[in-house]
C-alpha cells in the first residue's frame, strides 16, 4: 500500500483548501490593488492610499500600538509563566483563570473596557464617589488621544497576553529540570538561570508567540473601534472605511497588502532575531 506518493496525497486536501480559501482571495486582492477596471497595471490606488491624510496617522498608530503592546505582553507573560511554573499546587486553576480573557471576543473586550473608561463608566463613578474628582472626565474624548491610546493598550494587554502565556508555559515545561540543577550547582543565581537557561531555551516558543502576537497586533480593529471610534485611526480600520464607507475596494486592497507586507517583514525579523544557531537545537 505504501508509496512515495502517499504523503503528498494526504497533504493534498489541506493544500487545496489553502489554495481555494487563501491563495485565490489573495490573488484577487492583489489584482484589485494593482489592476484597473480596464485591465491596466497601475499604482494609482497605492498613490491614493498613501496621499490620503489619514494614511500616515493610521500607519504610525498601528506601529506604535504594536510596539507598546507586544513587548509589554511578552515580558508580562514571561513573568506570569515563571510564576505559574514555580507553583506546586493550584497551577492549573491559576492558568485557567488567567486565560479567561482568551474566551472573549475582541469587540466584547473593547466594550468591557469602554464600560470602565467612558464618561459614565466605572472609573469615573469610582473616583467621583471617593471624592477625587468633582465631575466625570471624558477619557475617551477626541481631544484625549493619549488616554484613548492607553485604554486600547490596556484592553489589548488584558485580552491577548494569555495566548502568549499559554505558549510560554508550554515551552517552559519542555525545558528539562536538570539544566536548572546544573546551572544552580555551577553558581547561577535565579536571575542568571532565567537569562542563561530559560530565555535561550525558550527561543522557539518565544518566536511562535511573538510572531502570532505581532501579526494580530497589526490587525487590531474591534478594540480600537469600541474605545476610540474614528478618533484613533489604525490600518485595519482604514481598510474597513475604504471598503464599506467609501466603497473603494481597490484602495482597501492596497491597504490590505500594506498590512500583509508589514506582517511578513516583522515575521522575518523575529525569525532572524530569535534564530537558533545550527547544531544548537535539542
Amino acid at each position: 500500500m505504501y508509496s512515495r506518493k502517499l504523503p503528498y496525497l494526504l497533504l493534498l486536501p489541506s493544500a487545496l483548501f489553502l489554495c481555494v480559501f487563501f491563495l485565490y482571495p489573495f490573488v484577487l486582492v492583489a489584482w484589485q490593488a494593482f489592476v484597473t477596471d480596464t485591465g491596466e497595471l497601475t499604482s494609482e490606488y497605492f498613490m491614493e492610499m498613501a496621499t490620503h491624510w489619514k494614511f500616515n496617522t493610521a500607519l504610525i498608530n498601528t506601529l506604535l500600538l504594536a510596539l507598546a503592546v507586544v513587548p509589554f505582553q511578552i515580558v508580562l507573560a514571561l513573568y506570569m509563566a515563571t510564576l505559574v511554573n514555580g507553583m506546586k499546587r493550584g497551577r492549573d486553576l491559576i492558568l485557567y483563570i488567567w486565560t479567561i480573557p482568551l474566551g472573549i471576543s475582541d469587540l466584547a473586550a473593547g466594550i468591557i473596557w469602554l464600560a470602565i473608561f467612558e464618561q459614565t463608566g466605572f472609573l469615573n463613578s469610582f473616583m467621583q464617589s471617593l471624592g477625587f474628582i468633582e465631575e466625570p472626565i471624558g477619557f475617551l474624548g477626541y481631544q484625549n488621544k493619549g488616554t484613548i491610546f492607553v485604554a486600547i493598550m490596556l484592553a489589548e494587554i488584558w485580552r491577548a497576553t494569555a495566548i502568549v502565556l499559554v505558549i510560554l508555559v508550554a515551552g517552559m515545561g519542555l525545558i528539562p529540570k536538570e539544566y536548572y540543577e546544573a546551572a544552580e550547582v555551577f553558581g547561577a543565581s535565579r536571575w542568571k538561570q532565567f537569562t542563561r537557561i530559560t530565555l535561550p531555551m525558550l527561543k522557539p516558543s518565544l518566536q511562535t508567540a511573538m510572531i502570532l502576537r505581532v501579526i494580530l497586533a497589526f490587525e487590531v480593529f474591534a478594540v480600537v473601534v469600541a474605545l476610540g471610534g474614528t478618533n484613533l485611526p489604525v490600518l485595519m480600520g482604514e481598510i474597513y472605511t475604504w471598503q464599506y464607507d467609501l466603497r473603494d475596494s481597490s484602495v482597501a486592497a492596497a491597504y490590505a497588502l500594506v498590512v500583509l507586507a508589514i506582517s511578513i517583514g516583522f515575521t522575518l525579523l523575529i525569525m532572524w532575531g530569535l534564530r537558533t544557531p545550527k547544531g544548537a537545537r535539542v
Partner: protein, 354 residues
C-alpha cells in the same frame, strides 16, 4: 582542605524513609563511592550533599562549614549528572566556561582553564561544537570538563558512566581515575555498578534500603562483608551462603561436614564462602568426613574459569573451577573451603560474626 561530614542525615518522602540517619565522613581528597541497587537512596544522599534535595533532619559539613542551609551555588561544589545536562544552546567551550563565567573570572583565566580541562578530557577539537553534535561519550567528557574547570574542592558524580556502552565505560573509568587523582578534589561518586565502584574507589560505602551497611576499601568489602547483604551484592557470582548447625565447642555442621567456627551461643549460623575460595579434590584423595560432596547442576564456561552451580544439601553452591577441569553436569564434586576466607553470619541480624 575539604573534608565532608554527613551527620545523622535522614530523608523522608511522604511516609517512606529514603534515608535512615546516615553518618559518614569523607576525608580530604578521598574518592568515595556510594554503591547500591537502584532505589536504595544513594542518589538522594548525593543530592542532599549537593543541596538539590533537602534533608528531613541532620547536618552536612563541607570543609569545616555547615552547608545544609546553603543554596547549591554557595557550597563550593561541582557536579556531573547522570544525563550529563550539557546545555544544548551553548557551545562546548561555553559549557565548560559556564561555572567560570558565573564566578565572573577574567576572560584570560576562563580561556586558560577551558583549554586546560578540554586538553585533559581530550575534547580540545570539539570546543566550537554544540552538544547535539556530540556522541554520548563526548558529552560525558564535556560534563566532566565543566565540573573540573571550576577547580572544585568537592566533586559529586551521579552515575556518570551509566549511559555509556560497556567498552566506553571501561575506557572512561580508567581515564576518570587518572584525571581525578591529579585534580586532588574530594569526590563522591554514585554508581550501581560494583566493578566501577571497586576499580575506582578509595573507599566504598554500600547503601541498602537507606542505610550505609559498610564503608571500607574494595578488598575489605569483598573479603570481609559486614552483612549478609554485602556478601550477596558484591562479587559476581556472589558469596555462597549455607546453613550451619552448632555441634558445640565452636564446631559447626555445614552440609554434613564439621567445620571449625566461632564459639557463640546461637544454634544456627550462616556459613559464607566466595566461589573462588573453594578448593576441589578428587574423590580418591579426600576423606568424606571433611570434604562435603556436592552435585554439579550447571556448568558455565566463562573463558578464564569454569563456573559450576552445584546442589549441596538442597542448597545452592557456586564454585569457580579451572577452565580445563574435566567435569560434567551430574558429577559429584568434593570441596572444602579455604579456612581463612570463611565468614560467619548471624541469621537473625544478618550481621557478620568475627
Amino acid at each position: 582542605m575539604a573534608e565532608i561530614n554527613i551527620k545523622q542525615v535522614a530523608k523522608q518522602f511522604g511516609g517512606t524513609h529514603a534515608l535512615h540517619s546516615i553518618d559518614l565522613t569523607i576525608a580530604d581528597q578521598e574518592f568515595l563511592v556510594l554503591l547500591g541497587a537502584s532505589g536504595c537512596g544513594k542518589t538522594t544522599l548525593l543530592r542532599i550533599v549537593a543541596g538539590l534535595e533537602t534533608a528531613t533532619s541532620g547536618e552536612v559539613w563541607i570543609g569545616g562549614h555547615r552547608v545544609d542551609k546553603l543554596a547549591p551555588r554557595d557550597r563550593g561544589i561541582a557536579m556531573v549528572f547522570q544525563n550529563y545536562a550539557v546545555f544544548p544552546h551553548l557551545t562546548v567551550y561555553e559549557n565548560i566556561a559556564f561555572g567560570l563565567r558565573m564566578a565572573k573570572l577574567p576572560q584570560a583565566e576562563v580561556d586558560k582553564r577551558v583549554n586546560r580541562t578540554a586538553d585533559l578530557m581530550h575534547i580540545e577539537n570539539l570546543l566550537s561544537r554544540y552538544s547535539g553534535q556530540l556522541s554520548g561519550g563526548q558529552r560525558q567528557r564535556v560534563a566532566v570538563a565543566r565540573a573540573l574547570a571550576t577547580e572544585p574542592a568537592v566533586l559529586l558524580m551521579d552515575e556518570p558512566l551509566s549511559n555509556l556502552d560497556a567498552l566506553l565505560r571501561m575506557e572512561m573509568r580508567a581515564e576518570l581515575k587518572t584525571v581525578l587523582a591529579e585534580s586532588k578534589t574530594t569526590t563522591i561518586y554514585v554508581t550501581h555498578d560494583q566493578v566501577e565502584a571497586m576499580s575506582m574507589a578509595d573507599r566504598i560505602a554500600i547503601v541498602n534500603e537507606g542505610r550505609i551497611v559498610q564503608a571500607a576499601s574494595a578488598v575489605e568489602v569483598y573479603r570481609n562483608p559486614a552483612e549478609h547483604f554485602v556478601g550477596s551484592f558484591i562479587g559476581n557470582p556472589p558469596m555462597n551462603f549455607l546453613d550451619a548447625t552448632a555441634l558445640g565447642d565452636g564446631w559447626w555442621d555445614v552440609a554434613g561436614t564439621r567445620i571449625k567456627g566461632p564459639s557463640v551461643k546461637q544454634n544456627k549460623l550462616q556459613f559464607g564462602i566466595r566461589p573462588e575460595d573453594i578448593s576441589v579434590h578428587s574423590p580418591k584423595t579426600s576423606n568424606p568426613q571433611d570434604s562435603p560432596s556436592a552435585t554439579i547442576r550447571v556448568l558455565e564456561p566463562l573463558g578464564s574459569h569454569l563456573l559450576a552451580s552445584c546442589k549441596v544439601d538442597n542448597q545452592m553452591l557456586r564454585v569457580v573451577l579451572d577452565s580445563d577441569a574435566s567435569v560434567k553436569a551430574g558429577d559429584p564434586l568434593h570441596w572444602s573451603p579455604v579456612a581463612d576466607r570463611i565468614r560467619w553470619f548471624d541469621p537473625a541480624t544478618a550481621l557478620a560474626i568475627l
